[in-house]
Amino acid sequence: MTASPLYSGTQVSRVETPAAQGATELGVDPTEKDARGGRPRLGVFKFASCSGCQGVLLSCEDELLALADALEILYFPEASSHLQEEGPFDLALVEGSISAPEHLEQIQKIRARSKTLVTIGACATSGGIQALRNFGNLDDFVHRVYPRPEFIAALATSTAVAEHVKVDYELRGCPISKRQLLELITAILLGRRPEIRNESLCLGCKRYGYVCVTVAHGLPCLGPVTMNGCGALCPSVGRGCYGCFGPKEGANTEAMAQRMLQLGMSKDDVRNAFRFITGYAQAFREESARHE
């Protein structure tokens, strides 16, 4: 083998280039963290939502104190009165959909103050259950609920955060899964690819060894077109998935809908099945429109 002089001992040196510094592009840059001497800073924000996804964070009972040690919590109104809204945040977790006029500006501010922005939950990633209003007329809804509708300030649609600002990662689910939340936070901080799989719920269902409710009981189940992540909870209790993690990549909703009709659902049922918790996610939205 040629003895090249290029790599003999001390001559090897490291040349710093911008690319090398960008090593943790989407993650929290460790060098910056060191310079500041602090822990990565966390912000938890809420738009239109039920707080369930923040609740999942608070439900990490075994991990919460360790997380609080690893992170500096700058903004988390539901848990702490100490609020530093200005950030800047290394990691922002955003719950809820954009559905009121002032949200438009608030989300821009959060984006500008955050290094990594993660949307959490069906509301933030697809508009949530409240996006059902997108399929109707806002005025009708307002009148149906409120006797003095003139005071209601709401946008015509409830939309995903990603329709307004760049989102670095999203966690699906209504609510999100604890495992995925911990994995994501860990992965971002360690600079690894979060193991959050965009695959069908069926794969999870089968790994757990649940009996398929469609095949064995003839129940409609959105599992084949829904993104895995929850742990196949609905099939585990003998019911079909209702899609709260939203569509998986390349969801073949048309073939799914065919099957649902075959199983005895009416056109209206099929439309409503797709038009549910994540009904405003593109694939589901388009499928429900086919059954108007």
Partner: protein, 657 residues
């Protein structure tokens, strides 16, 4: 695999009480009994205590996309056909640890956790499923590497098989040669007939287990009844599949319109792969969170229907449902014989029943056969030498030096723990605790240290390229085939490299550069995106000065100070009339580049057997277990990454394989 039915193996009659004794005996011997149980409206394979847990009086009705249990109207224990689960979930669990990391001060130690579960006794393994276990044995135990946890479980598993007298609507084991009579591999085999069990012994372990049972030799009449029932069963298969030459037909019809048609119905849900008793694709993930501070690794079932299966940085080889369905069917029925010397389907019918939309593998394969447009010859299985050690356990290595090659590419000079033997073209799996594990070619050696040239494209490669001298990482390897340095001696060798593709070739070039007597004329044609992206510029210069070497470099985009060639490598090949039909070509680069180079070589009349390529696929193990690096009947990790082109041209031509 079926044993001849007329074999005069001793056959005994055992009453139900005797069966209970058999199970009790196995339990006493320390086995955990696993058998069919009715739960949630289906048969599941789970822990049982004794025969009272078995599905007495149940039988299933199956159709595409439908499964129902109903009363059988008789007291038979084993009337049910395959259900949604197969035995693989016990031998190859859906999720299981791979390695655990221990830190001792500054050093790292990866350990493979040992299997602690007690040995299992499988009660009621149907013939098709027995065949499936044998097929998985080939994957995990009979390749170049052994999957140690599988081996540990499998060796200790006691198998009570049950012959099948009532095949179901979706069964086609007779076509696949796996049933209805159990072939090899059982310890004890039962046939449930006329309220009793007829028992055969298949192993010494089985012999010992039945030694004290109240057995009576079967009468001639009973023996005849049994033969007759099995014969009838063979004729009552709900489905058939013609397997003759099927692999060649499937791979001869990669562009058949039927794939598009089935893709419209397919949900890419992957159920078929997860119910299949032989599918083995898996994925690996780093476990551990900030909260628990662990940095372990586990593997879990994956499926070729998941997009991630075919992912490499920036893209997917099998993006469309058509490509994914085709991968599944061609692998199962077509590629498997070349990979493992056996077909991958046992005829159990699970994928038909448990496909939510009832897609039928026999129907699809038959449709292709009936309208076949071509046929190819499939390669024979390659028997690779058995290699020692556990390929999944990294050994620690230390970074001795680091060299920034280009803005995004860095060479690590790494000192492995012990002596390290490799050949140019081979690769290692490099691990960063908590971050991941990726295949990286060995790009050379300096002293006892080996070189890896790594382009930062994603998380693991970024972490690798950020390592500083002194840092620790894990190495597994070397894996894979090497460049044919012996075979090309005395020939005109042309090396064509694109981008990072020079790294896997450098080891080979260094050898050829150092031995002009063996390699009288070596030409390197190398293309990079920009002048700044050129790897090893000083070394290129060194080579250029050698009398027996020619080095030509080109870039896609020039900078003002660049005076050399601009354009793709094929332009260089063509311009200098470099393509000599009598030469040998070693090619590595992006797949699209290799495609155009091949076209150029083909046009110039270079025989396919004089071309060698190094390919790239998603890879999680390097040892032939994860199934992700398949290209048709080949595994990149053990059949490749370096291939002689004539062997793979029939698959390389097609995108999406």
């Amino acid at each position: 695999m079926t044993a001849p039915e007329s074999s005069a193996a001793p056959l005994y009659r055992l009453e139900e009480a005797g069966l209970a004794l058999l199970l009790e005996g196995l339990r006493r011997d320390g086995y955990r009994l696993v058998g069919p149980v009715v739960r949630d409206g289906a048969i599941r394979l789970q822990r049982i205590e004794g025969i009272s847990d078995l599905p007495r009086g149940f039988v299933d009705e199956q159709a595409p996309g439908t499964y129902r249990l109903r009363s059988s109207g008789n007291g038979r224990l084993f009337a049910c056909r395959p259900g949604p689960q197969s035995w693989k979930r016990h031998l190859f669990p859906p999720r299981e640890p791979v390695v655990q990391l221990k830190r001792h001060g500054d050093s790292l130690e990866w350990r493979r956790p040992v299997v602690e579960d007690p040995p299992m006794a499988f009660i009621g393994v149907l013939p098709c499923d027995l065949a499936a276990i044998r097929i998985q044995d080939r994957v995990w135990m009979e390749g170049p590497f052994q999957e140690t946890r599988y081996v540990a479980r499998r060796r200790n598993t006691f198998i009570v098989a049950v012959n099948c007298l009532e095949p179901g609507q979706l069964c086609f084991c007779a076509s696949m040669g796996t049933g209805p009579k159990a072939g090899q591999g059982f310890d004890v085999c039962l046939t449930e007939l006329d309220g009793a069990f007829f028992l055969e012994v298949g192993s010494e372990r089985g012999e010992a287990a039945v030694a004290s049972l109240p057995l009576r030799e079967a009468s001639e009449e009973e023996r005849r009844r049994l033969q007759e029932s099995l014969k009838q069963a063979r004729l009552r298969m709900g489905r058939t599949l013609e397997t003759r030459g099927l692999g060649g037909t499937l791979f001869g019809n990669i562009e058949h319109p039927r794939w598009e048609e089935v893709a419209k119905r397919c949900l890419t849900c992957g159920n078929c792969t997860h119910v299949c008793p032989t599918c083995f694709c898996l994925n690996v993930r780093e476990t551990g969170t900030l909260a628990d501070g662990r940095q372990d690794r586990e593997r879990f079932w994956d499926s070729c229907f998941s997009l991630d299966h075919s992912m490499i940085h920036g893209g997917y080889f099998r993006h469309t449902p058509k490509q994914r369905y085709r991968q599944w069917l061609t692998h199962k029925l077509g590629a498997w014989p070349s990979q493992f010397g056996t077909v991958g389907c046992t005829g159990c019918g699970r994928c038909i029943a448990w496909c939510p939309v009832g897609i039928d593998i026999t129907e699809e394969a038959t449709a292709i056969r009936k309208t076949s447009r071509g046929h190819v010859r499939m390669p024979q299985p390659r028997s690779a030498p058995v290699r020692a050690g556990d390929p999944l356990v990294p050994t620690p290595a230390q970074v001795k030096g680091v060299r920034q090659e280009t803005p995004d590419t860095t060479t690590l000079w790494v000192e492995p723990t012990g002596p390290f033997h490799w050949k140019p073209g081979q690769f290692n799996m490099l691990s960063i605790p908590g971050v991941g594990d990726v295949p990286i070619s060995i790009s050379g050696q300096e002293g006892s240290g080996i070189l890896h040239t790594i382009r930062a494209v994603g998380k693991v490669t970024r972490a690798l390229t950020s390592l500083q001298p002194g840092a620790l990482l894990g190495i597994r390897g070397p894996f894979g085939t090497s460049w044919p340095l012996r075979a090309v001696r005395g020939r005109i060798v042309t090396v064509v490299a694109g981008g990072i593709g020079l790294a896997p070739l450098r080891g080979a070039i260094r050898v050829m550069a150092a031995h002009p007597r063996h390699y009288p004329w070596v030409r390197l044609i190398y293309g990079a995106r920009t002048p700044a992206d050129l790897l090893y510029p000083e070394e290129l210069e060194l080579w250029r000065q050698l009398l027996h070497m020619e080095v030509e470099v080109t870039v896609d985009r020039a900078t003002p100070d660049w005076t050399g060639n601009v354009g793709v490598v094929t332009k260089l090949l063509r311009a200098g009339r470099k393509v000599r039909p009598d030469g040998v070509y070693l090619v590595c680069g992006p797949e699209i580049m290799m495609m155009v180079v091949l076209e150029e070589l083909r046009a110039a009349g270079v025989p396919e057997e004089h071309i060698y390529l190094s390919l790239e696929r998603n890879m999680k193990c390097g040892a032939g277990f994860c199934g992700r690096c398949q290209k048709g009947p080949f595994f990149l990790c053990k059949d490749g990454p370096v291939f002689r082109y004539d062997r793979i041209s029939f698959v390389f031509r097609h995108a999406g394989l």
